[in-house]
């Protein structure tokens, strides 16, 4: 879930923007022009992915898929997510400019962590791969939820319970994301293993 | 009606959101056994017509009847799609599972068959189309012609009562095209086929329709005639797709 404009304190907004700027700079530096196109297209695919709604019990939720994006792109996940959120801001007004930094960092940082910690196992084989992919999908969402909750909690004490609830709301999504990530990864490994050598 | 129609379009109007009307008062009553060839210029609304029939887009006005009853909602169209199988214009759009077997078994699984039955049904269908041995091929590595055949298989495995085929021979070489003609000639299924390829329609369908100014019209009589033309290997046996 994104945080809307005008909710967070200037300190948090500034911190988020600074961290995102650093992440994006690292991500961009590692990209050359012929891979830029690939990243643009993946960013677009993930933007579209975040519009996919899946049923969860009586309600439904949209996918986030930052774990899979991180596993494929590594640091380039920062500029990709930044651009995706910018487009969301422009096209749908989810979130907005001042919270762009915080929202990007919240989603991209767990994704990059996933890249370093879980990806080696994800491109392996058998059970280990499924477990790693599940963790990657689920934990990236958990991380994003946690960071979002923390940004709220650090803004004003009054938001504390809201932040906790927000995190809890992420739990079913985590499970679904984990499952979808496992299947998507096994599909990609079978059909297009080169995907995992883009970053 | 004396003979009950399988599905009916009643005075259907359709427009894509910002634009002009594509369909303007289409009427069609389709009975079991009919084999219609549908042609018309690019952008005349042929594909759109198929999408209206299968409920992929909702008419602005008019309605779709299935076995005589109006279909209002997605639930009604789900029932309709079990009997009316649409093969999309672009074979790539039809195939989304990793392997051919997964893809051909996908429909039967959704019809409620058990995993084993769905598998058997898929293997059987592939066999009937001469695609035995393709089960474990990756769908997106198939050649253009193979993709066309497999996408036909994904619908045939659901054993629909009516086949809607959207330009099934586009981009195919003459041999593959001949194979599709042969397969269709052996199938008794009712059908509507969209094509720019008149010769193909003449071999696979019995009535002709076209879309003119948003209206579906039955076509002029069918006249055999002759042409002189030339092409490489013109002295060897061959056939033409026009």
């Amino acid at each position: 879930m994104h945080i809307s404009e005008g909710v967070l304190s200037p300190a948090i907004l500034g911190l988020g923007a600074a961290l995102t700027a650093v992440g994006t700079a690292i991500g961009l530096r590692r990209l050359d022009y012929d891979r830029l196109m690939t990243v643009a297209i993946l960013a677009a695919a993930f933007f579209v992915g975040s519009l996919i709604h899946v049923p969860i019990g009586p309600s439904n939720a949209h996918l986030i898929l930052n774990g899979l994006l991180g596993a494929i792109l590594g640091w380039a996940a920062f500029p990709a997510i930044l651009v995706g959120l910018m487009l969301q801001a422009v096209l749908f007004q989810y979130g907005g400019i001042t919270v762009l930094g915080v929202n990007t960092f919240n989603m991209a940082f767990p994704a990059v962590l996933g890249f370093y910690l879980l990806r080696p196992a994800m491109v392996g084989s058998g059970r280990a791969r499924s477990v790693a992919a599940f963790c990657c999908g689920a934990l990236s969402v958990a991380g994003a939820g946690l960071l979002t909750a923390l940004s709220l909690a650090f803004t004003a004490e009054g938001f504390l319970r809201a932040a906790q609830l927000l995190f809890l709301a992420h739990v079913p999504v985590m499970v679904v994301e984990g499952v979808v990530t496992v299947l998507a990864v096994s599909f990609l490994i079978r059909v297009r293993p080169e995907v995992f050598s883009i970053s | 009606m004396s003979e009950p129609s399988l599905f009916t379009l009643e005075d259907v109007y359709f427009a894509y959101p910002p634009g002009q009307e594509v369909l303007r008062g289409v009427n069609l009553s389709f009975s079991s056994g009919q084999q219609i060839g549908l042609y018309g210029s690019n952008g005349s609304g042929k594909t759109t017509l198929f999408h209206v029939i299968t409920g992929l887009v909702t008419p602005v006005q008019g309605r779709v009847l299935f076995h005589g009853r109006p279909v209002h909602d997605e639930k009604g169209f789900r029932a309709l799609r079990r009997e009316i199988g649409l093969v999309l214009q672009n074979a790539e759009d039809q195939l989304f599972n990793p392997t051919v077997l997964d893809d051909v078994a996908f429909g039967p699984l959704n019809l409620g068959l058990s995993a084993d039955d769905a598998r058997d049904r898929a293997v059987e269908t592939l066999h009937a189309l001469g695609l035995t041995g393709f089960e474990d091929r990756l769908t997106h590595r198939l050649s253009g012609g193979e993709k066309k055949l497999v996408s036909l298989a994904t619908i045939l495995s659901m054993q629909p009562k009516v086949l809607l085929l959207d330009e099934p021979t586009n981009g195919l070489d003459p041999q593959t095209r001949a194979r599709i003609i042969e397969i269709l000639c052996q199938l008794p299924t009712s059908r509507i086929i969209i094509s720019h390829d008149w010769d193909f329609l003449a071999q696979t369908t019995t009535e002709y329709m076209t879309i003119k100014e948003g209206r579906l019209v039955s076509d002029a009589p069918f006249l055999p005639h002759r042409h002189v033309h030339a092409h490489p290997l013109g002295d060897e046996p061959h056939h033409h797709h026009d």
């Binding site: 993946l42 579209v48 969860i56 009054g158 299947l183 297009r192 995907v195 | -």
Partner: protein, 232 residues
């Protein structure tokens, strides 16, 4: 411009100023005349998050209790906090809608380039925008294919498995497409630099817009300082 406004509003602490900001944003919005229905939908979307805060924060934030609903008390501080956030959120949203959303993305891209955003990021932005439609169509087509074969989304493994496969297929096809498009570009002499025939024009109306914006801005900063002085 929009960014500056958003930043200022985000910093504001006084409700009066926030309300004034909201008012100004509304005026700006009226001046730029966007289509009404789309606008309404967007405002509702953002306020879903705000609604979530309304439902939780006043009930859970400790402080002076205004009244009680069964076991939980509604706190004054909670209400104030949320009220403030609501004003600010909507002010920024409306200003943003007025100033940015009435531009199309290519214009934003060119504007970004003018503002000194790294060219790689501008490139990324423009092409992501370009491909969002293509890929959304691709997703839609694959989903259609699934529907045609009797797929009904439910809360079960098969649904999630199918979504996983569909999405992976969209990825694979997007990548193939990216390779083909890159080829199309180099076939036409592309060597990494972007040239454009589209000229960025500044109309008189835009100038007026910027002037009013600046005035409103200064006014708001004044109000904020003034409020601060009063409070002391």
């Amino acid at each position: 411009m929009a960014a500056a406004f958003s930043v200022t509003v985000a910093m504001v602490r006084h409700p009066g100023t926030a309300a004034a900001g909201l008012l100004m944003a509304m005026i700006a919005l009226c001046a730029s005349l966007p289509p009404k229905r789309a606008l309404l939908r967007r405002v509702v979307l953002v306020n879903v998050f705000i609604l979530f805060l309304w439902l939780t924060v006043p009930l859970t934030m400790p402080g002076e209790t205004l009244w009680t609903l069964g076991a939980v008390g509604v706190s004054r501080e909670g209400l104030e906090l949320v009220g403030m956030v609501t004003l600010k959120s909507n002010a920024i949203l409306l200003a943003f809608l007025a100033l940015v959303a009435s531009m199309d993305s290519p214009t934003i891209g060119h504007a970004m380039a003018r503002l000194g955003v790294p060219s790689k990021l501008v490139f990324l932005f423009l092409f992501t925008y370009r491909y969002v439609h293509v890929i959304a169509d691709e997703w839609q087509r694959l989903r259609t294919a699934a529907r045609l074969r009797g797929f009904v989304p439910r809360t079960d493994m098969r649904t999630y498995a199918t979504v996983g496969h569909l999405f992976a297929m969209v990825l694979v096809r997007s990548l193939d497409r990216s390779a083909r498009v890159y080829r199309a570009m180099i076939l036409r002499g592309f060597d990494g630099r972007f040239a454009s025939v589209c000229r960025f024009t500044i109309r008189p109306r835009d100038g007026l817009f910027v002037l009013c914006g600046l005035a409103a801005h200064i006014l708001m900063i004044f109000m904020e300082c003034f409020a601060g002085v009063l409070r002391v």
